[in-house]
Subunit: 204 residues, 2 copies
DNA sequence: TGACATAACAGACAAATGTCTGTTTTATGG
DNA sequence: CCATAAAACAGACATTTGTCTGTTATGTCA
């Protein structure tokens, strides 16, 4: 490879390695060598080791593909969660299996069971949740008053604000055009799917 | 390792491999061997190959740590972007360098230059953008009418709806309590930072 | 119980990958 | 221009890792 001014190539190597790590597979020394057209492995290695020395990369010695992003290691665990969609026979199932869509989420705890849903309807408009928004839900059987939750009422999944009045569960919309749902009264089968922990909206 | 009924161990191996892939490093055959206490590499290999045959895992032959999640192979590229925050002397700089915070974004195009901001104020309330929301912005010098943009007006970064009237730029809030900004008229230095492509809100 | 499929084991070889020692070439700053 | 540091090259060895052939043990089911 042609000679470049000090640090120039190293920066590109960092970008390359970083991207590879993020996309799921840290590169081998020789991956880097080939990607940059070095004629010696050591050329790649020297840059990589220097990046580790500078603290820009972390490394597990001796192991193959041992390079890591230092801050990211302990930052927050990343989880790939499934986009669910349709409600079918009272059970939430994966919509359009064909390709099941996944999204990345950074979570506080690794053992949370998460899933994502697309919101339909305008019942939570005043809570800043619009139709088409994606909500990320932590599956849990209970909730606290004030939580935004996803519940199965009858056959339909719905996003509402969780309240309790006189010991009874109430699901409140945040839009005057809609009425609260009081499960016991209307007798519809009711079950709490989980709590909304994040809202995402794509506006591209 | 003790003998288990058919498929029992394989399921656990699948979970193990999956988790390892998601956490950033696919395991080696011998990683699996050790994790399950097999006394032969082939035991692990057999299970892994079978999982590939069943379509539950994908694999790059010959390469170390070559196991993948099949659906994940084609997923959109992932990018780590910086959380910017404060506006300083007309320039957007990284807030609290000390740990620079990064978030994961799945992008359509890999070469977009993205950054993230925290929204202050309620001027975009009716567009479903609340104070504290994080907006992900693609840096670009122009915008189309209707876009939600981030602009630097004076020393302040502001999120508004981009409009044009009589060939002049107007920045419209989505809240009656606020007035539109018409850059030329009030004479404040104005520059377009980019277009909002995603909104995220954490409600934990 | 016995046939069968699967699980697990044993040992080895080959390829990929990490690592090392030393040399040559080029950019940079005085 | 020269001294120096960094970049790139060369070739090799050690370890890790993927792969293979064949054997033994155990669960399953008729």
């Amino acid at each position: 490879m042609a000679y470049t001014s000090p640090g120039k190539t190293r920066e590109k190597i960092y970008d390359f390695v970083r991207e590879r790590i993020l996309s799921g597979t840290p590169p081998t020394t020789r991956d880097v060598q080939r990607a940059f057209g070095f004629r010696a492995v050591q050329s790649a290695r020297q840059h990589l080791e220097k990046l580790v020395f500078e603290g820009k990369l972390a490394k597990v010695d001796g192991r193959s593909r041992g390079y890591r992003l230092p801050e990211f290691g302990k930052a927050s665990p990343t989880q790939l969660i499934a986009m669910l969609g349709r409600v079918q026979a009272g059970e939430l199932t994966e919509a359009m299996e064909d390709p099941p869509e996944y999204i990345m989420v950074q979570t506080r705890f690794d053992d949370d069971e998460l899933f994502a849903l697309t919101v339909e309807g305008e019942s939570m408009l005043h809570a800043g949740i619009l139709p088409g928004d994606m909500v990320i839900v932590r599956r849990q059987p209970t909730a606290s008053p004030g939580d935004i939750v996803v519940a199965l009422v009858g056959d339909e999944a719905t996003v509402k604000r969780y309240r309790e009045r006189d010991g009874r569960v109430e699901l409140h919309p945040e839009n005057e055009a809609f009425d609260p749902i009081i499960p016991r009264e209307d007798g519809a089968p009711f079950s709490l799917l989980g709590k909304v922990i994040e809202i995402r909206r794509s506006v591209e």
